[in-house]
């Protein structure tokens, strides 16, 4: 998938910006507040219909304006034009694909696969388990619609069961307990699918992590990732039985607290370097490297599974890395194809080998200069 150009109107600080991209590396250079990150954000918005950093779309509309618009030209086997508009007044979003009005978000999601590396990725390796589940779930969901549907189904089950647990806290009668059994059975049925899918995914994804790690570090360190589920399991065992027994054991606890205490919504993933837990013992440099590795692994994993190269967006990837690693990453990007990389100031990155096909786009006070 190649993005040949975008046109932004009233997106963040961009009043009207038109950009033509290279099919190779696109370095977007500018000082703070020049809107380089918002260009990556707008591409992400166009590909996913969602804003990356805010829950409310109104936040990405330029100050004092009502309507934002992003138009992008994609090149795959054929050309396509995508256009998204958002209206602040009515909080409405409209999507057009090749001039055809698209009403279901599901018809867009997955059409333009995208991988984005941002400074907020630190929470994946350093944050709470929920951040790691969010990462893993988003990668699998991009590759498997079945998984996404299963996840939505499971989350609905959790909400329904939580509501029942609240009722049980008030009145304990036989009918409600029978109903709880049914919701627990449902939870086991769809939760088990999620666990098996995650196990299968991690087994495969591990190799992608190893490959990327080797390219970026090229030393003796070996990365690892382990999936911990159902209070300490890491191997595929009798999932149904164990899940059932745990739910039984925690039943009174769940009712007293009115919330779901057992299941894949509480799982975690443990990242390791040479068998040592990264979260507890990793240095800042190791964390940052691992975050970059995860996004490269995601890129090559999705490319293999979907047969389509995702659009790769890297926001401030070289920020905290030493020159040696930065050089390796910039070389690694040659294998990606097209990528979009923000840089604060190009002169600081003399190690970058700009080739003829690459493009440097400088942003300065609303002016766009190609170098």
């Amino acid at each position: 998938m190649i993005l040949s150009s975008v046109k932004l109107k009233n997106f963040r600080s961009h009043k009207e910006t038109k950009l033509i991209f290279s099919e190779r590396l696109n370095y977007i250079v500018g000082g703070n507040g020049q809107g380089k990150t918002s260009i990556l954000e707008s591409i992400y918005y166009l590909c996913t219909t969602k804003s990356i950093n805010s829950n409310f779309d109104g936040e990405v509309v330029r100050f004092n304006e009502n309507e934002l618009e992003i138009i992008g030209s994609f090149k795959d086997y054929s050309n396509s034009e995508a256009r998204i508009s958002y209206f602040l007044n009515s909080n409405k979003k409209i999507y057009f694909l090749n001039g055809k009005h698209i009403t279901r978000a599901a018809d867009i999601i997955g059409k333009f696969p995208v991988v984005i590396l941002t400074p907020t990725d630190h929470s994946i390796t350093q944050g709470a388990p929920g951040e790691r589940r969010k990462f893993v779930d988003s990668v699998i969901s991009q590759a498997s619609e079945t998984y996404l549907k299963n996840l939505l189904d499971y989350n609905k089950t959790l909400r329904q069961k939580a509501s029942l647990l609240a009722q049980l806290k008030e009145t304990k009668n036989k009918t409600l307990f029978d109903e709880l059994d049914a919701w627990n059975s449902k939870m086991i049925a769809s939760g088990k699918e999620i666990i098996i899918h995650r196990l299968k995914f991690i087994r495969k994804f591990k190799d992608f992590i190893k490959d990327s790690f080797k390219v970026i570090l090229n030393d003796d360190e070996i990365p690892g990732v382990e999936y911990m589920f159902l209070e300490g399991l890491s191997q595929e065992e009798n999932i149904e039985d164990i899940f059932f027994k745990l739910l039984h054991k925690r039943k009174d606890d769940e009712i007293r607290r009115g919330s779901n205490l057992v299941g894949p919504h509480r799982d975690d993933f443990v990242f390791k370097i040479n068998d040592v837990d990264l979260k507890t013992y990793g240095s800042q440099g190791q964390h940052k490297t691992f975050q970059v590795v995860l996004r490269f692994a995601q890129f090559f994993y999705l490319k293999e599974i979907t047969g389509k190269a995702p659009i790769f967006l890297l926001d401030d990837v070289f920020g905290e890395l030493d020159a040696k690693r930065s050089i390796r990453i910039s070389e690694y990007l040659r294998q990606v194809g097209q990528a979009f990389i923000t840089l604060t100031d190009f002169t600081d990155f003399s190690f970058l080998q700009k080739e003829d096909d690459d493009l440097v786009i400088k942003l300065n006070n609303g002016q766009v200069v190609y170098a």
């Binding site: 059994d181 919701w183 049925a189």
Partner: protein, 198 residues
């Protein structure tokens, strides 16, 4: 512009119907105004009959014009096989396939604690009563394969199992998250034929 009050009221009432907006309601009202009296009368009567002549079957809660619905009254149907569905619209969907020869039981919904629907809000006790009153050999659970439908299926299966009656459910020919009402006839037909034991 001054609009005559009867017209305003008609537009207001029509726009209460599902998927009818203000504009469509206005078009419909003006169309009725131009139609001849006979046509309008027969529409009014049809709507009135809907409310006065149709009620719920006292046995299976399907739509009926008499005490019992057409299916429950028929001697050609297999009365030992009950197909459990969510709504009367599901009966219509399955009947259209001509693949099912048993009788029905309409639950009137599915379990959903979030919206306050528990077993007592559904026709579950009435279903259990039928096992005492009738000679039931098999029960086919044909609820929508969504989160709540699946859970209700599990709930009913556990409830009925001790009674020693054969329990089956429709095969997963239906798309996950899909409504029975909107699936095409061939899919529902296959699903009813390919039922599996629980």
């Amino acid at each position: 512009m001054q609009i005559a009050e009867p017209l305003l009221i008609a537009i207001e009432e029509l726009s209460k119907l599902p998927s009818i907006g203000k504009k469509t309601a206005q078009r419909l009202a003006l169309h009725l105004l131009k139609s001849n009296t006979e046509d309008v009368d027969s529409l009014v009567n049809a709507i009135k009959d809907l409310k006065t002549k149709i009620h719920f079957c006292s046995r299976c809660f399907n739509l009926a014009t008499e005490e019992l619905c057409e299916v429950c009254k028929s001697s050609k149907r297999d009365h030992s096989l009950i197909c459990v569905v969510e709504e009367a619209s599901d009966v219509i969907a399955i009947e259209k396939t001509h693949e099912f020869n048993g009788v029905y039981h309409v639950l009137g919904g599915v379990l959903s604690p979030l919206t306050g629907i528990g077993p007592d809000s559904l026709k579950i006790k009435d279903l259990l009563k039928r096992f005492e009153d009738e000679e039931i050999k098999e029960i086919l659970l044909a609820l929508n394969p969504d989160t709540e439908g699946e859970t209700t299926t599990l709930y009913l299966a556990k409830l009925i199992k001790p009674l020693g009656i054969k329990i089956t459910r429709i095969a997963r020919g239906l798309p996950i998250g899909g409504d029975l009402e909107f699936a095409d006839e061939a899919t529902i037909g296959r699903a009813v034929l390919g039922r599996i034991s629980l």
